[in-house]
């Protein structure tokens, strides 16, 4: 409930401050602006539910976008195949994270710190630090628009909402989804119950990598180029969205839809403060305060249980 209240309060506040805030078009815009982080944060949420963490998010996505762009533009692969190759690369990185964590029993923080650097370096080497433009239609698909009444939406926004609903269904209605919670709550108990904990973890990181690929596709649809310097701040932005959304960093407790609200809270503050003409420093300040509040709320609810 916390993230929903925070989001509604922010919306009420900015509506009173600026008459341009509470319009369908402005909300469509905020959704477009948070879509990339929101999809990355799906992967991050799944991982944090297992009591893990992934620092490689942004750079793995950037590597995926580079592969999608260069395979199509320079190698001349069919666009959809190039996109699939990009998603395969990011899923492969997810698999690598999961493999190292489960096989050698390593802490996720350290493993993903390593793969974060590897992914960044590979992107720089492969792209020679150059932006790739002139992408085919398929790469830009999610940037196409449609109208609902007066408001213009992108297909990308619809994709984000569909992905969240699918993952929500997976987590709350299927056995593997509940296994994921069990592994995050108490891996030892989960193992004794006969849940294949190692396989659950390996799959979680791989699926997260798949979502980073989708996020990369959304990113190039939005910016129309593949940028080697993308993904610099996304790891912390996704963790912020997950925490604001009420998912516990200790694993086993949280809701995927909260993460979407968390991403929206950050987007609403950025947009609203710009409309008010307030310096972006205050957005950073408020984000910091909200993160602390979210963690405090998490601890209090943990004690109650």
């Amino acid at each position: 409930m916390g993230p929903l209240v925070a989001l509604l309060l922010a919306i009420v506040f900015f509506s009173l401050q600026s008459d341009r805030f509470l319009t369908g078009q402005n909300f469509s815009l905020i959704l477009q602006q948070v879509s990339v982080v929101a999809v990355l944060a799906i992967g991050q949420t799944l991982i944090i539910l297992t009591a893990g963490i992934d620092l490689s998010v942004g750079f793995v996505m950037a590597l995926g976008t580079m592969v999608m762009a260069k395979f199509a533009v320079e190698l001349g692969l069919p666009p959809l195949l190039a996109i699939l190759c990009g998603i395969a690369i990011t899923s492969g990185f997810g698999f690598l994270n999961g493999f190292l964590i489960t096989r050698f029993n390593l802490p996720p923080f350290i493993v993903t710190l390593g793969t974060m650097n590897i992914a960044f370096a590979l992107t720089q080497i492969y792209s020679k630090a150059q932006t790739v433009s002139g992408l085919p239609e398929a790469h830009l698909f999610w940037g196409n628009t449609f109208r609902l009444g007066e408001t213009v939406f992108t297909y990308g926004v619809v994709l984000v909402i569909i992905l969240y609903l699918l993952v929500w269904f997976f987590l709350s209605e299927t056995a593997p989804g509940r296994h994921l919670y069990a592994v995050g709550n108490n891996p030892e108990a989960a193992r004794l119950m006969g849940i294949p904990t190692q396989r659950v973890l390996l799959l979680t990181y791989t699926i997260a990598g798949f979502f980073y690929g989708i996020a990369g596709w959304l990113l190039i649809s939005r910016t129309s180029v593949a940028d080697p310097n993308a993904g610099q701040t996304e790891n912390l932005e996704t963790i912020t969205a997950v925490v604001l959304g009420g998912t516990s960093l200790f694993g086993g407790r949280g809701m995927i839809l909260g993460t979407l609200l968390g991403a929206l809270i950050v987007g609403v503050f950025r947009n609203g403060l710009t409309l008010m003409g307030v310096s972006s420093v205050y957005q950073v300040l408020i984000t910091g305060i909200l993160v602390i509040l979210a963690v405090v709320a998490d601890q209090i609810s943990k004690r109650r249980n």
């Binding site: 815009l29 020679k128 940028d227 993308a230 610099q232 420093v281």
Partner: protein, 333 residues
Amino acid sequence: MRRQVVLGMLAVGIVALGLVTAQNKTPYIGLITKTESNPFFVKMKEGAQKEAQKLGARFISAAGKTDGDNASQVAAIENMVAAGVNTILITPSDAKAIVPAIQKARAAGVQVIALDSPTDPPDAVDALFATNNYQAGVLIGQYAAAVMKGKKPIIATLDLFPGHPVGAQRHNGFLAGFGLKSFGPESNELARPAEVVCMADTYGDRAKGQTAMENCLQKNPNINLVYTINEPAAAGAYQALRAAGKEKNVIIVSIDGGCEGVRNVERGIIAATSQQYPLKMAAMGVQAGVKYARTGVKARGYVDTGVNLITKTPVPGVSSKDVKFGLENCWGQ
């Protein structure tokens, strides 16, 4: 206590090593940039490498991880002094925090030259080879004023991030060049006259530039002039303007003069940009390093490596170069 003695001896040893190697007359030059990935610094490194080869100097380079990563730069200075370079060329990520490390290097007999942006205080280094960022802003401001003659300016500024001197100098220079109320080159604060209806940060990043412009258009759909901190931010702004169907009647001006940026001037996406010359900065830095190694004479003070306004449509009263010149002298791909 014993550990401190050992560490002290080690430090003395390193300094002594530095002194010994500083008198060794083969020119050995180190370059430390802000990041490995920014094309501006890639070009700078290329320029320094080429010049070092030409003059028969040894050359090493290092960089921070991100813009603002001071710790990596400090480590790079220490390692290069230990490796025995005679001259360090550095683009400081954090103008203040880097100063103690530079002082240690200079005490060890190494010549330190800042490239592209100054240290704080400026005399913490032997010399500064840089573009005058304020002047770069003034040029595009003057250009925009001449183009908008008689029209009421409704301005959005897409800036860098809070507290960065280069961001402030370009922003304030642009406003001063346009003839609006602004601060001088020393100020680190962004001026905000009434004509500026929206200010947003881009971190010099294309996607964030797009987001910033989208939000500014929400705030005021009649914006007719956009100042951008660099050309990726300008490309992002154009993307947002085009999505809103406003790209035809909005003027975008920018700073940097990267090849992709100059091509965007050619395409009519950016009206004008102030071009800087990282190759020249790097080459001059290496020349100064070679001179110091061979003669013991250090470079001194501030050398302006110059900016040129690049545009397809020159205006009277503001001197500019054409796109052809821009492409011949640009950096990046």
